[in-house]
C-alpha cells in the first residue's frame, strides 16, 4: 500500500516539475521542449513500476517496466531479427511501394477532373476496409513471408497518401496557376515548378500518417500467418506462452521504431517545406 501511495507522490512530483519547467522562463528552449515529455514518460514508468509492485499485479497480466527492460536487454538478437523482418522488410517495403504508387496515381488522377471525382469516394470506401479482413486474404494471395505484410501495408497507406497528394496538387492558388498560364508553360513545367512544390506539405502529411499505419499494418498482418520470425509473430506467440515481458519488449521496439520513423519523416518535411508558414512558425 505504501508503494501505491508512493506512486501517487511520484505522479504529483513529476507533474510539479513539469509545471515549473513549462511555465518557467526557459519554456521555449529546445532543451525544455525535450525534457518535459521525457520527465512525463519517466514519471509514468515509475508509477507503473510502483503500482505493479504495490498491487501485486500478476506477471502474466502486466509486467513491471524493469522486467521488460531486462527482457529487452537479454533478447536483443531476437528483437533485431524480428525488427528486420517486420519493419525493414514488411513495413518499409510496403510503405515505399504504397506511397510511391499513390503518388504516381495522384499525378495521373489530377489530370482529369472526372477521374478525381470518381476515384476519391471509392478510395475513401476502400480505405475503410478493416485490416483484420484484408490481412487474411492477402496472406492467402501473397504467402506467409514479408510480401503479404508489405501488401497489407500497401493497401493501408495507398489511399490516405492518394487523397492527401491529390488535395495537395490542388493547393496551388488560382493566381499561381494563372501566372503559369501567362507564361504559356507546359503541363510538365507547371507540375514540376508549381504544383509539386505547393503540394509538398500535403504529401508529407500523407507520408506521416502512413508511417504509423505501415508499422501497425505489418505487425498485425503477422497475426494471420507468418514465418516463425517477426514482431507480430513474437507478440502473439509470447502471449500464448505467457511471456508478457517479451510482448512488451516488442511493443517497446514498435514504439521506438515508429517514433523514429515518424521523426525522420518530420525532419525531412522540415528540411523540404521550410518555406511553409506551419514550419516557419515553429
Amino acid at each position: 500500500m505504501e508503494l501505491v501511495f508512493l506512486a501517487f507522490l511520484v505522479w504529483c512530483a513529476g507533474w510539479w516539475i513539469n509545471a515549473r519547467l513549462a511555465n518557467g522562463p526557459r519554456a521555449d528552449t529546445r532543451a525544455v521542449g525535450l525534457l518535459v515529455p521525457v520527465i512525463f514518460g519517466l514519471t509514468i514508468l515509475l508509477v507503473w513500476e510502483l503500482l505493479v509492485r504495490g498491487l501485486d499485479v500478476p506477471l502474466v497480466i502486466l509486467p513491471a517496466p524493469t522486467l521488460i527492460a531486462v527482457r529487452f536487454a537479454d533478447s536483443l538478437s531476437i528483437l533485431w531479427q524480428d525488427f528486420a523482418q517486420t519493419i525493414l522488410k514488411g513495413a518499409l517495403g510496403g510503405y515505399v511501394i504504397g506511397c510511391s504508387a499513390a503518388f504516381v496515381t495522384a499525378i495521373l488522377v489530377d489530370r482529369s477532373d472526372f477521374l478525381r471525382r470518381g476515384l476519391l469516394p471509392v478510395g475513401n470506401f476502400v480505405a475503410a476496409l478493416p485490416i483484420v479482413g484484408t490481412a487474411p486474404i492477402l496472406v492467402m494471395w501473397f504467402g506467409f513471408d514479408w510480401h503479404s505484410k508489405a501488401a497489407v501495408v500497401v493497401v493501408m497507406v495507398f489511399f490516405p497518401m492518394l487523397v492527401n497528394t491529390v488535395a495537395g496538387l490542388r493547393e496551388a492558388s488560382e493566381m499561381q496557376r494563372d501566372l503559369m498560364h501567362t507564361y504559356a508553360a507546359s503541363y510538365w513545367q507547371s507540375l514540376l515548378k508549381l504544383r509539386l512544390p505547393a503540394a509538398l506539405p500535403f504529401v508529407f502529411n500523407g507520408l506521416k500518417i502512413s508511417t504509423t499505419l505501415a508499422l501497425v499494418g505489418a505487425i498485425v498482418a503477422e497475426f494471420f500467418g507468418s514465418p516463425t520470425v517477426g514482431m507480430g509473430f513474437r507478440i502473439s506467440t509470447s502471449v500464448g506462452q505467457l511471456a508478457l515481458d517479451m510482448v512488451w519488449a516488442e511493443i517497446v521496439v514498435a514504439a521506438l521504431a515508429g517514433s523514429l520513423f515518424y521523426g525522420l519523416i518530420a525532419a525531412l518535411e522540415k528540411a523540404l517545406t521550410f518555406w511553409h508558414p506551419s514550419q516557419r512558425g515553429a
Binding site: L119, L129, M140, Y262
Partner: protein
Amino acid sequence: MKTVVAVLTVVAAIVGLWYLACVPMNIKGVLDAAERAGEQVEPATARERREASALGLVAQNSFAIDRVWSVDRPRLPAPHQVVVELWQTTVMKKITSKRSLIYHAQVTLSATLLGFAIGTGLGILLAVGIVHSRVMDMSVMPWAIVSQTIPIIALAPMIIVVLYSIGVQGLLPKAIIAAYLSFFPVVVGMVKGLRSPDHMQLDLMKTYFASGNQVFWKLRLPSSMPYLFTSLKIGIAASLVGAIVGELPTGAVAGLGARLLAGSYYGQTVQIWSALFAAAILAALLVALLGLIERVLLGRMGVKA
C-alpha cells in the same frame, strides 16, 4: 450529379478489372476440381500446375474460364458472388437471425458508437487540457503520437484480459479499443480547432475583459467546429476498425469481426468479402451521417460548409 456519374464509371471500371482478375486468381482451384471430376486438364497433376504460371494455365485450359466466377471457395470471389451473399445475409434474413449481417453489423455498431463516444469525449477533454495548459501540451502531446505507433491489435487481448480481471465484460472492452483508435484524430483536430482563433479575435475578447470560460464558450469552441467534424469523420472510421479488432479476442461471438474471423476460419472467402464490404458500407454510412449532422449544425451556426 457529375460526381455520381464519375463514381459509377470508376466503380464499373473496378468491377470489370475485378472480373478479369478472377481468371488467373481462381484458375488453379478450378483445374484442381476439374481434375478430381475426371476431366482432362493440362498439365495433368496439381503438382505440375503448382509451378505453372496462372496465365499459361488459362491459355492451355480455356474451357474452364467461365467457371472461375462461380467457384465455391475462390481465392478471389466474383463481384456478383459477394453481392448475392450480401443480399442473402441482409435482405433475405430476419434481422434477429445470427446469420443476418444486419444483426452482426448492429452488434459492431453498438461497440463502435460507445467507443466513439468515449474516444471523442476523451479526445476533446485532452484537447481542452492541452490548449489551456502548457504542461499538458508539452508532456502529453508527444506521447499521444507515440501511442499511435503501438499496434493496438497486439494489445487488444491483454486489454480484454485486464478488463476481465477487474470484472468489466461485454460491450465495454471492445468499446475501449475502439476509443483508443478514435481519440487520436479527435485530439489532433480539436487542438488545431481550439487554436484556430487568431490573435485579433483573442485580443478582441481581452478588450472586453472576458473570462477564460467566456473565451472558451464564445470563441474557441465555435471556431473549432469545422475542425472537430473533420476529425470526427476520421475518428468514427477508426472506431469501427477498433470495434472489429476488439471482437476477435472477446471470443468473437458476434459482430462483423466475428463474421470475418469465422469466414476466415472456415475458408469461406465469399463470407469474408461480404463482411468486409458490410464493414466498409457501415463506415461510409456513419461518415455520411456525420457529414449530414455537420451540414445541419454548422448551417444553423451560420458557418458555410
